[in-house]
Symmetry: C2
Subunit: 204 residues, 2 copies
Amino acid sequence: MSKEPADTATKILDVAERLVQARGFNGFSYADVADELGISKAALHYHFPGKAELGEALMERYAARFARALIDVDAREPDAHAKLQAYARLYADVFQDERMCLCGMLAADYATLPDPMRRSVVRFFDDNEVWLAEVLDEGRRAGTLRFTGSAREIARTIVSGLEGAMLVARPYGDTARFQTIADLLIDGLAAETTAPARRGRSAR
Amino acid sequence: MSKEPADTATKILDVAERLVQARGFNGFSYADVADELGISKAALHYHFPGKAELGEALMERYAARFARALIDVDAREPDAHAKLQAYARLYADVFQDERMCLCGMLAADYATLPDPMRRSVVRFFDDNEVWLAEVLDEGRRAGTLRFTGSAREIARTIVSGLEGAMLVARPYGDTARFQTIADLLIDGLAAETTAPARRGRSAR
DNA sequence: GTCTATAGGCAGATAGAC
DNA sequence: GTCTATCTGCCTATAGAC
């Protein structure tokens, strides 16, 4: 399903997305995208008036795609721990050909971003934390996850841990390096036992 | 100590470092630095022939400063857990006025960096992992840290966890957000108890 | 929708005077 | 060491023909 020829706007977004994920928002140009697609820069400006608008469209599509992926995970995985692993797999899937998570990359470029893009980046992290916190609470209620303290704080640790794992593993071009860290985060922080910040009794 | 007037080269490095940490390597220009110091771009080129050389000098100084800081930590903190906390504090100190860790930021810009800078970034992460792994092993031997599995993998999780925490917390301009995650990483991953990846018996 | 042509600005960098 | 002046090239963006 959904394998139509893909119109120009979509092709532009595809190429731009890959370039931003690999090189950052200040590391690619309209010329890069135009050359790769064999069209003129003016054609890009027809579809996206300026780089700011292109960036917004990029974020909008990425966030929507990610939201759909989370709904899929909720539908497919019954267990909270499995949901966390599926969540980490979403990141692992992105971590190909030198790509960062789009929002992780834009978080690095944050100081130079136009305001609408900034808001999208923050919203992305917020949404992810909310989803993760719900999964964590759900797992704790069901007994498949054990942790002490705030689910929201664990959620933040997972988001930033996965973003950081991509950031640091990318220079090594090493998927296994990312995966090992992701496993430690998920299995160590949220499953089986986790040490509370101070003086908590250990689970099990 | 060491509060001499600071020569031009040092002032250039100071300004450039802050700009790179805040805006990324592709988000600042010679003109930015020159304007802020009230000198000409040509003067910058006298001290650092090109942006690549400036970047290398930036990395060199940053790595040396970080290495000294680790030696200080080793000298001041007797306990492995305290060393980890002091290590996290090094990151927290950097996390001011919208700054990222220099190497975290350059990891994001990695695809666009000249080769010598790339090597410096990787070396920085390698050195940090080696130091952390030694602290972790030392703590395990002394009984102040408890974890199962490879110290090197835990070390990688800490490095990327702290880098990711900076990356994600920065858009919120929230130091507490960073600190909470750092505490969870250090106290949860390396102290007291930590769950092994699969089916391990829990410590304590 | 896509093109060519071009504007206008800023990037990194150099020459040569002081 | 630092300056002014300048170069060349790329950047984002627009105008107007097809």
